[in-house]
Symmetry: C2
Protein backbone atom coordinates (compact mmCIF):
# COMPACT_ATOMS: atom_id res chain seq x y z
CA UNK A 1 0.00 0.00 0.00
CA UNK A 2 1.31 3.40 -0.97
CA UNK A 3 0.26 6.53 0.92
CA UNK A 4 0.64 10.10 -0.25
CA UNK A 5 0.82 12.83 2.40
CA UNK A 6 0.59 16.58 2.19
CA UNK A 7 2.65 17.96 5.06
CA UNK A 8 3.41 21.44 6.40
CA UNK A 9 6.23 22.49 8.65
CA UNK A 10 7.83 25.42 10.39
CA UNK A 11 11.31 25.41 8.90
CA UNK A 12 12.91 26.90 12.00
CA UNK A 13 12.18 23.71 13.93
CA UNK A 14 14.21 21.46 11.62
CA UNK A 15 17.64 21.16 10.05
CA UNK A 16 16.05 20.95 6.61
CA UNK A 17 14.01 18.18 5.01
CA UNK A 18 16.47 15.43 4.31
CA UNK A 19 18.21 13.21 6.88
CA UNK A 20 21.81 14.12 7.56
CA UNK A 21 24.46 13.38 10.14
CA UNK A 22 23.56 16.19 12.58
CA UNK A 23 20.30 17.64 13.87
CA UNK A 24 16.67 16.70 13.50
CA UNK A 25 15.24 16.89 10.00
CA UNK A 26 11.67 16.58 8.73
CA UNK A 27 12.51 13.18 7.29
CA UNK A 28 13.92 12.01 10.64
CA UNK A 29 10.80 13.15 12.47
CA UNK A 30 8.45 11.40 10.04
CA UNK A 31 10.46 8.18 9.82
CA UNK A 32 10.79 8.13 13.60
CA UNK A 33 7.04 8.23 14.05
CA UNK A 34 6.44 5.73 11.25
CA UNK A 35 8.87 3.28 12.84
CA UNK A 36 6.91 3.59 16.09
CA UNK A 37 3.59 2.96 14.36
CA UNK A 38 4.69 0.26 11.93
CA UNK A 39 7.34 -1.34 14.17
CA UNK A 40 9.90 -1.31 11.37
CA UNK A 41 11.93 1.25 9.45
CA UNK A 42 9.88 2.85 6.69
CA UNK A 43 11.61 5.20 4.26
CA UNK A 44 9.79 8.29 3.06
CA UNK A 45 10.28 10.15 -0.20
CA UNK A 46 9.64 13.87 -0.58
CA UNK A 47 8.84 15.93 -3.65
CA UNK A 48 12.20 17.60 -3.02
CA UNK A 49 14.46 18.85 -0.27
CA UNK A 50 14.17 22.10 1.56
CA UNK A 51 17.06 23.82 3.34
CA UNK A 52 17.20 24.41 7.09
CA UNK A 53 14.88 27.31 7.93
CA UNK A 54 12.78 26.97 4.77
CA UNK A 55 9.08 26.49 5.48
CA UNK A 56 6.56 24.24 3.77
CA UNK A 57 2.83 24.71 3.46
CA UNK A 58 2.22 21.87 1.01
CA UNK A 59 5.19 19.55 0.77
CA UNK A 60 4.24 16.11 -0.59
CA UNK A 61 5.77 12.83 0.53
CA UNK A 62 4.99 9.17 0.00
CA UNK A 63 5.88 5.89 1.61
CA UNK A 64 5.03 2.30 0.93
CA UNK A 65 4.00 -0.50 3.27
CA UNK A 66 4.23 -4.20 2.61
CA UNK A 67 1.11 -6.34 2.63
CA UNK A 68 2.22 -7.87 5.90
CA UNK A 69 2.80 -4.47 7.55
CA UNK A 70 -0.67 -3.32 6.46
CA UNK A 71 -2.17 -6.56 7.71
CA UNK A 72 -0.80 -6.01 11.21
CA UNK A 73 -2.04 -2.42 11.47
CA UNK A 74 -5.51 -1.26 12.25
CA UNK A 75 -4.87 1.94 10.30
CA UNK A 76 -6.74 1.02 7.16
CA UNK A 77 -8.20 4.35 6.13
CA UNK A 78 -6.34 7.55 5.31
CA UNK A 79 -8.10 9.65 7.94
CA UNK A 80 -6.83 7.41 10.73
CA UNK A 81 -3.30 7.64 9.39
CA UNK A 82 -3.48 11.42 9.57
CA UNK A 83 -4.70 11.36 13.15
CA UNK A 84 -2.17 8.74 14.25
CA UNK A 85 0.79 10.55 12.68
CA UNK A 86 -0.21 13.96 14.04
CA UNK A 87 -0.64 12.48 17.50
CA UNK A 88 3.07 11.62 17.56
CA UNK A 89 4.58 14.42 15.48
CA UNK A 90 5.56 17.77 17.02
CA UNK A 91 3.11 20.67 16.41
CA UNK A 92 5.71 22.29 14.15
CA UNK A 93 5.20 19.45 11.64
CA UNK A 94 1.68 18.53 10.59
CA UNK A 95 0.15 16.04 8.23
CA UNK A 96 -2.54 18.04 6.47
CA UNK A 97 -3.93 15.29 4.22
CA UNK A 98 -3.44 11.59 3.55
CA UNK A 99 -4.60 9.78 0.42
CA UNK A 100 -3.96 6.37 -1.12
CA UNK A 101 -1.59 6.64 -4.07
CA UNK A 102 -1.40 4.42 -7.13
CA UNK A 103 1.49 2.00 -7.57
CA UNK A 104 3.22 4.25 -10.07
CA UNK A 105 3.17 7.36 -7.87
CA UNK A 106 6.42 8.83 -6.63
CA UNK A 107 6.46 12.11 -4.67
CA UNK A 108 9.58 13.28 -6.49
CA UNK A 109 9.46 11.69 -9.93
CA UNK A 110 5.72 12.17 -10.50
CA UNK A 111 5.85 15.87 -9.59
CA UNK A 112 5.13 18.10 -12.56
CA UNK A 113 6.17 21.28 -10.80
CA UNK A 114 6.23 23.35 -7.67
CA UNK A 115 5.07 26.66 -6.31
CA UNK A 116 7.39 28.63 -4.04
CA UNK A 117 6.73 31.92 -2.30
CA UNK A 118 9.28 34.31 -0.90
CA UNK A 119 8.14 36.71 1.83
CA UNK A 120 9.81 40.07 2.46
CA UNK A 121 8.87 42.62 5.11
CA UNK A 122 9.87 46.04 3.79
CA UNK A 123 9.70 48.44 6.69
CA UNK A 124 11.77 49.82 9.55
CA UNK A 125 10.85 47.20 12.11
CA UNK A 126 10.17 43.49 11.59
CA UNK A 127 7.14 42.64 13.74
CA UNK A 128 7.94 39.91 16.28
CA UNK A 129 5.44 37.50 14.73
CA UNK A 130 7.37 37.53 11.45
CA UNK A 131 10.70 36.75 13.08
CA UNK A 132 12.13 33.76 11.12
CA UNK A 133 9.08 33.87 8.83
CA UNK A 134 10.01 36.65 6.46
CA UNK A 135 13.14 38.36 5.26
CA UNK A 136 13.55 41.89 6.58
CA UNK A 137 14.58 44.75 4.29
CA UNK A 138 14.53 48.46 4.78
CA UNK A 139 15.53 51.34 2.57
CA UNK A 140 15.45 51.80 -1.19
CA UNK A 141 13.70 49.00 -3.05
CA UNK A 142 12.49 49.64 -6.56
CA UNK A 143 9.49 47.36 -6.95
CA UNK A 144 9.16 48.14 -10.66
CA UNK A 145 12.56 46.51 -11.23
CA UNK A 146 11.39 43.41 -9.40
CA UNK A 147 8.24 43.28 -11.53
CA UNK A 148 10.33 43.64 -14.65
CA UNK A 149 12.65 40.80 -13.57
CA UNK A 150 9.65 38.60 -12.69
CA UNK A 151 8.55 38.86 -16.31
CA UNK A 152 12.11 38.35 -17.56
CA UNK A 153 12.59 35.00 -15.84
CA UNK A 154 9.23 33.57 -16.87
CA UNK A 155 9.45 30.87 -19.49
CA UNK A 156 12.17 28.30 -20.16
CA UNK A 157 15.67 29.44 -19.30
CA UNK A 158 19.00 27.91 -18.41
CA UNK A 159 19.19 28.90 -14.74
CA UNK A 160 22.75 27.66 -14.05
CA UNK A 161 23.69 31.24 -13.14
CA UNK A 162 21.18 31.08 -10.29
CA UNK A 163 22.15 27.74 -8.79
CA UNK A 164 24.19 27.31 -5.63
CA UNK A 165 26.05 24.06 -6.35
CA UNK A 166 27.79 25.11 -9.53
CA UNK A 167 30.34 22.36 -8.82
CA UNK A 168 27.96 19.46 -9.46
CA UNK A 169 25.22 20.64 -11.76
CA UNK A 170 22.42 18.33 -12.80
CA UNK A 171 22.36 17.02 -16.38
CA UNK A 172 20.16 19.87 -17.55
CA UNK A 173 19.93 23.26 -15.88
CA UNK A 174 17.03 24.38 -18.05
CA UNK A 175 13.83 24.98 -16.09
CA UNK A 176 10.56 26.58 -17.06
CA UNK A 177 8.93 29.15 -14.79
CA UNK A 178 5.24 29.34 -15.67
CA UNK A 179 4.35 32.29 -13.51
CA UNK A 180 6.40 34.69 -11.45
CA UNK A 181 4.72 37.58 -9.71
CA UNK A 182 5.16 40.17 -7.01
CA UNK A 183 2.34 41.06 -4.65
CA UNK A 184 2.48 43.99 -2.25
CA UNK A 185 0.20 44.49 0.72
CA UNK A 186 1.54 47.39 2.75
CA UNK A 187 5.06 46.49 3.89
CA UNK A 188 4.47 42.80 3.05
CA UNK A 189 5.95 41.81 -0.29
CA UNK A 190 5.71 38.31 -1.67
CA UNK A 191 7.23 36.89 -4.80
CA UNK A 192 5.52 33.73 -6.04
CA UNK A 193 7.23 31.41 -8.48
CA UNK A 194 5.56 28.49 -10.22
CA UNK A 195 7.73 26.25 -12.32
CA UNK A 196 8.33 22.73 -13.61
CA UNK A 197 11.36 22.38 -11.36
CA UNK A 198 13.95 24.35 -9.44
CA UNK A 199 17.72 23.99 -9.21
CA UNK A 200 19.47 23.88 -5.82
CA UNK A 201 18.76 27.17 -4.02
CA UNK A 202 17.49 28.67 -7.26
CA UNK A 203 14.63 30.63 -5.66
CA UNK A 204 16.89 32.16 -3.01
CA UNK A 205 19.51 33.01 -5.66
CA UNK A 206 16.88 34.59 -7.94
CA UNK A 207 15.26 36.59 -5.14
CA UNK A 208 18.66 37.63 -3.80
CA UNK A 209 19.65 38.94 -7.24
CA UNK A 210 16.29 40.66 -7.74
CA UNK A 211 16.74 42.48 -4.44
CA UNK A 212 20.26 43.54 -5.44
CA UNK A 213 18.79 45.12 -8.58
CA UNK A 214 15.91 46.69 -6.64
CA UNK A 215 18.47 48.19 -4.26
CA UNK A 216 20.43 49.49 -7.29
CA UNK A 217 23.49 47.48 -6.36
CA UNK A 218 23.19 45.72 -9.71
CA UNK A 219 21.52 46.72 -12.95
CA UNK A 220 18.75 45.04 -14.89
CA UNK A 221 21.29 44.49 -17.66
CA UNK A 222 23.65 42.68 -15.29
CA UNK A 223 20.77 40.45 -14.22
CA UNK A 224 19.89 39.77 -17.85
CA UNK A 225 23.52 38.93 -18.65
CA UNK A 226 23.71 36.55 -15.70
CA UNK A 227 20.60 34.78 -16.98
CA UNK A 228 21.89 34.66 -20.57
CA UNK A 229 25.48 33.66 -19.78
CA UNK A 230 24.83 31.37 -16.84
CA UNK A 231 27.57 32.90 -14.67
CA UNK A 232 26.77 33.99 -11.12
CA UNK A 233 28.07 37.38 -10.02
CA UNK A 234 31.31 37.45 -8.00
CA UNK A 235 29.26 38.42 -4.93
CA UNK A 236 25.86 36.84 -5.46
CA UNK A 237 23.51 37.59 -2.59
CA UNK A 238 21.39 34.62 -1.59
CA UNK A 239 18.11 35.57 0.07
CA UNK A 240 17.85 34.10 3.60
CA UNK A 241 16.09 30.77 4.09
CA UNK A 242 13.55 32.11 6.60
CA UNK A 243 11.55 34.00 3.92
CA UNK A 244 11.05 30.95 1.71
CA UNK A 245 7.91 28.78 1.62
CA UNK A 246 7.32 25.67 -0.45
CA UNK A 247 3.66 26.35 -1.14
CA UNK A 248 2.73 23.33 -3.17
CA UNK A 249 4.11 20.39 -5.09
CA UNK A 250 2.19 19.97 -8.33
CA UNK A 251 1.14 16.70 -9.93
CA UNK A 252 -0.71 15.90 -13.12
CA UNK A 253 -1.41 18.04 -16.10
CA UNK A 254 -1.11 21.50 -14.56
CA UNK A 255 2.63 21.59 -15.02
CA UNK A 256 2.42 20.35 -18.57
CA UNK A 257 0.07 23.09 -19.66
CA UNK A 258 1.78 26.25 -18.50
CA UNK A 259 -0.44 29.27 -18.10
CA UNK A 260 2.15 31.49 -19.70
CA UNK A 261 4.60 30.39 -22.38
CA UNK A 262 6.76 33.35 -23.30
CA UNK A 263 8.83 32.97 -26.42
CA UNK A 264 12.45 31.89 -25.99
CA UNK A 265 14.81 34.85 -25.86
CA UNK B 1 11.50 63.72 29.42
CA UNK B 2 8.67 61.25 28.95
CA UNK B 3 8.69 58.78 26.08
CA UNK B 4 5.73 56.80 24.80
CA UNK B 5 6.43 53.53 23.00
CA UNK B 6 4.24 51.27 20.91
CA UNK B 7 5.62 47.76 21.33
CA UNK B 8 4.75 44.35 19.89
CA UNK B 9 5.68 40.96 21.24
CA UNK B 10 5.32 37.25 20.68
CA UNK B 11 3.64 36.14 23.88
CA UNK B 12 5.20 32.68 23.81
CA UNK B 13 8.62 34.21 24.46
CA UNK B 14 7.66 35.79 27.79
CA UNK B 15 6.06 34.97 31.12
CA UNK B 16 3.53 37.73 30.60
CA UNK B 17 3.97 41.49 30.67
CA UNK B 18 4.56 42.35 34.28
CA UNK B 19 7.66 41.56 36.34
CA UNK B 20 7.26 38.64 38.73
CA UNK B 21 9.45 36.34 40.78
CA UNK B 22 10.06 33.72 38.09
CA UNK B 23 10.81 33.86 34.38
CA UNK B 24 11.48 36.63 31.89
CA UNK B 25 8.66 39.10 31.33
CA UNK B 26 8.23 41.89 28.80
CA UNK B 27 8.77 44.44 31.55
CA UNK B 28 12.01 42.73 32.62
CA UNK B 29 13.33 42.71 29.06
CA UNK B 30 12.55 46.39 28.53
CA UNK B 31 13.84 47.56 31.89
CA UNK B 32 16.98 45.45 31.43
CA UNK B 33 17.77 47.17 28.15
CA UNK B 34 16.88 50.61 29.53
CA UNK B 35 19.22 50.10 32.48
CA UNK B 36 21.99 49.29 30.02
CA UNK B 37 21.34 52.38 27.93
CA UNK B 38 20.65 54.83 30.75
CA UNK B 39 23.00 53.32 33.30
CA UNK B 40 20.34 53.36 36.00
CA UNK B 41 17.09 51.57 36.77
CA UNK B 42 14.19 53.06 34.79
CA UNK B 43 10.69 51.81 35.52
CA UNK B 44 8.26 51.35 32.65
CA UNK B 45 4.47 51.54 32.78
CA UNK B 46 2.24 49.60 30.40
CA UNK B 47 -1.32 50.27 29.30
CA UNK B 48 -2.16 47.04 31.11
CA UNK B 49 -0.84 43.55 31.79
CA UNK B 50 -1.03 40.60 29.48
CA UNK B 51 -0.88 36.97 30.64
CA UNK B 52 1.92 34.58 29.68
CA UNK B 53 1.35 33.47 26.09
CA UNK B 54 -0.83 36.46 25.16
CA UNK B 55 0.51 38.40 22.17
CA UNK B 56 0.64 42.15 21.60
CA UNK B 57 0.62 44.00 18.32
CA UNK B 58 0.19 47.48 19.78
CA UNK B 59 0.87 47.55 23.52
CA UNK B 60 1.71 51.05 24.76
CA UNK B 61 4.23 51.82 27.49
CA UNK B 62 5.87 54.94 28.85
CA UNK B 63 8.87 55.81 30.95
CA UNK B 64 10.37 59.00 32.23
CA UNK B 65 13.96 60.21 32.35
CA UNK B 66 15.38 62.88 34.57
CA UNK B 67 16.96 65.97 33.06
CA UNK B 68 20.36 64.68 34.11
CA UNK B 69 19.81 61.27 32.50
CA UNK B 70 18.74 62.93 29.25
CA UNK B 71 21.73 65.24 29.43
CA UNK B 72 24.17 62.33 29.55
CA UNK B 73 22.60 60.48 26.62
CA UNK B 74 23.09 61.18 22.96
CA UNK B 75 19.63 59.73 22.27
CA UNK B 76 17.77 62.97 21.82
CA UNK B 77 15.29 62.10 19.10
CA UNK B 78 12.64 59.40 19.17
CA UNK B 79 13.91 57.57 16.09
CA UNK B 80 17.29 56.94 17.72
CA UNK B 81 15.57 55.58 20.81
CA UNK B 82 13.70 53.06 18.69
CA UNK B 83 16.87 51.91 16.96
CA UNK B 84 18.87 51.72 20.20
CA UNK B 85 16.20 49.73 22.04
CA UNK B 86 15.62 47.30 19.17
CA UNK B 87 19.34 46.72 18.86
CA UNK B 88 19.37 45.27 22.39
CA UNK B 89 15.94 43.68 22.63
CA UNK B 90 15.28 40.12 21.40
CA UNK B 91 13.53 39.85 17.99
CA UNK B 92 10.42 38.54 19.76
CA UNK B 93 9.95 41.99 21.34
CA UNK B 94 10.04 45.04 19.11
CA UNK B 95 9.62 48.73 19.61
CA UNK B 96 7.42 49.78 16.69
CA UNK B 97 7.23 53.50 17.40
CA UNK B 98 8.60 56.04 19.87
CA UNK B 99 7.15 59.49 20.48
CA UNK B 100 7.62 62.21 23.07
CA UNK B 101 4.74 62.27 25.52
CA UNK B 102 3.35 65.23 27.42
CA UNK B 103 3.93 65.50 31.17
CA UNK B 104 0.41 64.38 31.95
CA UNK B 105 0.55 61.21 29.86
CA UNK B 106 0.36 57.82 31.56
CA UNK B 107 0.21 54.61 29.50
CA UNK B 108 -2.35 53.10 31.86
CA UNK B 109 -4.32 56.01 33.30
CA UNK B 110 -4.57 57.99 30.05
CA UNK B 111 -5.84 54.99 28.06
CA UNK B 112 -9.42 55.45 26.91
CA UNK B 113 -9.81 51.86 25.80
CA UNK B 114 -8.34 48.82 24.13
CA UNK B 115 -8.86 46.56 21.18
CA UNK B 116 -8.33 42.82 21.61
CA UNK B 117 -8.59 40.10 19.02
CA UNK B 118 -9.04 36.40 19.64
CA UNK B 119 -7.93 34.01 16.87
CA UNK B 120 -9.44 30.56 16.40
CA UNK B 121 -8.49 28.00 13.75
CA UNK B 122 -11.56 25.87 13.10
CA UNK B 123 -10.44 22.86 11.10
CA UNK B 124 -9.09 19.35 11.54
CA UNK B 125 -5.40 20.26 11.60
CA UNK B 126 -3.74 23.37 13.07
CA UNK B 127 -1.09 24.47 10.54
CA UNK B 128 2.41 24.52 12.09
CA UNK B 129 2.74 28.27 11.58
CA UNK B 130 -0.27 28.90 13.83
CA UNK B 131 1.07 26.79 16.68
CA UNK B 132 0.86 29.02 19.81
CA UNK B 133 -0.69 31.79 17.70
CA UNK B 134 -4.29 30.65 17.51
CA UNK B 135 -6.63 28.45 19.48
CA UNK B 136 -7.48 25.19 17.71
CA UNK B 137 -11.06 23.94 17.57
CA UNK B 138 -12.65 21.23 15.52
CA UNK B 139 -16.18 19.92 15.31
CA UNK B 140 -19.54 21.60 15.79
CA UNK B 141 -19.32 25.36 16.15
CA UNK B 142 -22.45 27.43 15.54
CA UNK B 143 -21.15 30.76 14.31
CA UNK B 144 -24.61 32.31 14.39
CA UNK B 145 -24.65 31.87 18.16
CA UNK B 146 -21.30 33.62 18.41
CA UNK B 147 -22.58 36.52 16.28
CA UNK B 148 -25.66 36.73 18.49
CA UNK B 149 -23.51 36.82 21.65
CA UNK B 150 -21.20 39.45 20.13
CA UNK B 151 -24.20 41.75 19.81
CA UNK B 152 -25.43 40.81 23.29
CA UNK B 153 -22.25 41.88 25.08
CA UNK B 154 -21.88 45.18 23.23
CA UNK B 155 -22.63 48.22 25.36
CA UNK B 156 -22.14 48.81 29.08
CA UNK B 157 -22.52 45.70 31.24
CA UNK B 158 -21.41 44.46 34.59
CA UNK B 159 -18.92 41.81 33.48
CA UNK B 160 -18.15 40.35 36.93
CA UNK B 161 -19.44 36.98 35.69
CA UNK B 162 -16.65 36.97 33.10
CA UNK B 163 -13.74 37.89 35.33
CA UNK B 164 -11.15 35.43 36.59
CA UNK B 165 -10.21 36.95 39.95
CA UNK B 166 -13.63 36.91 41.54
CA UNK B 167 -11.88 37.02 44.93
CA UNK B 168 -10.55 40.56 44.58
CA UNK B 169 -12.76 42.45 42.16
CA UNK B 170 -12.00 46.05 41.24
CA UNK B 171 -14.25 48.80 42.58
CA UNK B 172 -16.48 48.71 39.54
CA UNK B 173 -16.91 45.73 37.25
CA UNK B 174 -18.91 47.68 34.70
CA UNK B 175 -17.19 47.99 31.33
CA UNK B 176 -18.44 49.19 27.98
CA UNK B 177 -17.75 47.21 24.84
CA UNK B 178 -18.09 49.54 21.85
CA UNK B 179 -17.78 46.94 19.13
CA UNK B 180 -17.63 43.16 19.19
CA UNK B 181 -17.53 41.25 15.94
CA UNK B 182 -16.75 37.88 14.41
CA UNK B 183 -14.91 37.62 11.12
CA UNK B 184 -14.52 34.34 9.25
CA UNK B 185 -12.01 33.71 6.47
CA UNK B 186 -12.06 30.02 5.68
CA UNK B 187 -11.09 28.12 8.85
CA UNK B 188 -9.72 31.33 10.43
CA UNK B 189 -12.16 32.91 12.86
CA UNK B 190 -11.38 36.07 14.74
CA UNK B 191 -13.41 37.81 17.38
CA UNK B 192 -12.50 41.48 17.84
CA UNK B 193 -13.52 43.36 20.97
CA UNK B 194 -13.15 47.10 21.45
CA UNK B 195 -13.97 48.51 24.85
CA UNK B 196 -13.21 51.17 27.41
CA UNK B 197 -11.56 48.61 29.65
CA UNK B 198 -11.36 44.92 30.41
CA UNK B 199 -11.46 42.98 33.66
CA UNK B 200 -8.82 40.37 34.49
CA UNK B 201 -9.00 37.64 31.83
CA UNK B 202 -12.35 39.01 30.65
CA UNK B 203 -11.70 38.42 26.94
CA UNK B 204 -10.64 34.82 27.49
CA UNK B 205 -13.64 34.21 29.76
CA UNK B 206 -16.04 35.76 27.24
CA UNK B 207 -14.59 33.85 24.29
CA UNK B 208 -14.50 30.63 26.31
CA UNK B 209 -18.18 31.01 27.15
CA UNK B 210 -19.08 31.94 23.56
CA UNK B 211 -17.38 28.79 22.33
CA UNK B 212 -19.25 26.70 24.91
CA UNK B 213 -22.51 28.06 23.52
CA UNK B 214 -21.38 27.57 19.91
CA UNK B 215 -20.55 23.95 20.77
CA UNK B 216 -24.00 23.60 22.34
CA UNK B 217 -22.56 22.80 25.75
CA UNK B 218 -24.34 25.86 27.10
CA UNK B 219 -27.37 27.78 25.84
CA UNK B 220 -27.71 31.40 24.81
CA UNK B 221 -30.06 31.81 27.78
CA UNK B 222 -27.42 30.51 30.17
CA UNK B 223 -24.94 33.01 28.72
CA UNK B 224 -27.47 35.81 29.09
CA UNK B 225 -28.17 34.82 32.71
CA UNK B 226 -24.45 34.79 33.49
CA UNK B 227 -24.14 38.30 32.07
CA UNK B 228 -27.22 39.53 33.96
CA UNK B 229 -26.51 37.85 37.29
CA UNK B 230 -22.73 38.19 37.32
CA UNK B 231 -22.13 34.60 38.38
CA UNK B 232 -19.65 32.44 36.42
CA UNK B 233 -20.75 28.91 35.53
CA UNK B 234 -19.53 26.09 37.78
CA UNK B 235 -17.24 24.96 34.92
CA UNK B 236 -16.38 28.11 33.02
CA UNK B 237 -14.09 27.40 30.08
CA UNK B 238 -11.38 30.01 29.66
CA UNK B 239 -10.08 30.29 26.11
CA UNK B 240 -6.32 29.59 25.92
CA UNK B 241 -3.88 32.52 26.08
CA UNK B 242 -2.18 31.67 22.76
CA UNK B 243 -5.16 32.89 20.69
CA UNK B 244 -5.30 36.33 22.29
CA UNK B 245 -3.78 39.51 20.81
CA UNK B 246 -3.74 42.97 22.36
CA UNK B 247 -4.20 44.85 19.09
CA UNK B 248 -4.14 48.40 20.31
CA UNK B 249 -4.32 50.61 23.37
CA UNK B 250 -6.52 53.61 22.65
CA UNK B 251 -5.95 57.17 23.78
CA UNK B 252 -7.93 60.33 23.28
CA UNK B 253 -11.44 60.83 22.14
CA UNK B 254 -12.07 57.56 20.31
CA UNK B 255 -13.03 55.73 23.46
CA UNK B 256 -15.27 58.54 24.60
CA UNK B 257 -17.31 58.53 21.43
CA UNK B 258 -18.27 54.91 20.99
CA UNK B 259 -19.28 53.89 17.49
CA UNK B 260 -22.17 51.85 18.84
CA UNK B 261 -24.09 52.73 21.96
CA UNK B 262 -26.70 50.04 22.54
CA UNK B 263 -29.34 50.81 25.11
CA UNK B 264 -28.90 49.32 28.57
CA UNK B 265 -30.70 46.00 28.97
Amino acid sequence: MKLRLVIAYDGTAFQGFQSQSHGLTVQDALEGVLARIVGEKVIIHGSGRTDAGVHALGQVIHFELTGEQVHQLSLRDSERWRVALNAWLPPTLRVMRVTRAGKGFHARFSASGKIYRYEIWHDKVLPPHLHKRASHLYGKLDLESIRHLCRMIEGPHDFRGFCANSGSLPESTIRTLYRVGLRKRGPALSITLEGDGFLYRMVRMLVGAMVQVAQEKKSIEEFQARLAEGKPWPTPAMAPAEGLYLVKALYGKRGNTPLVIPSLD
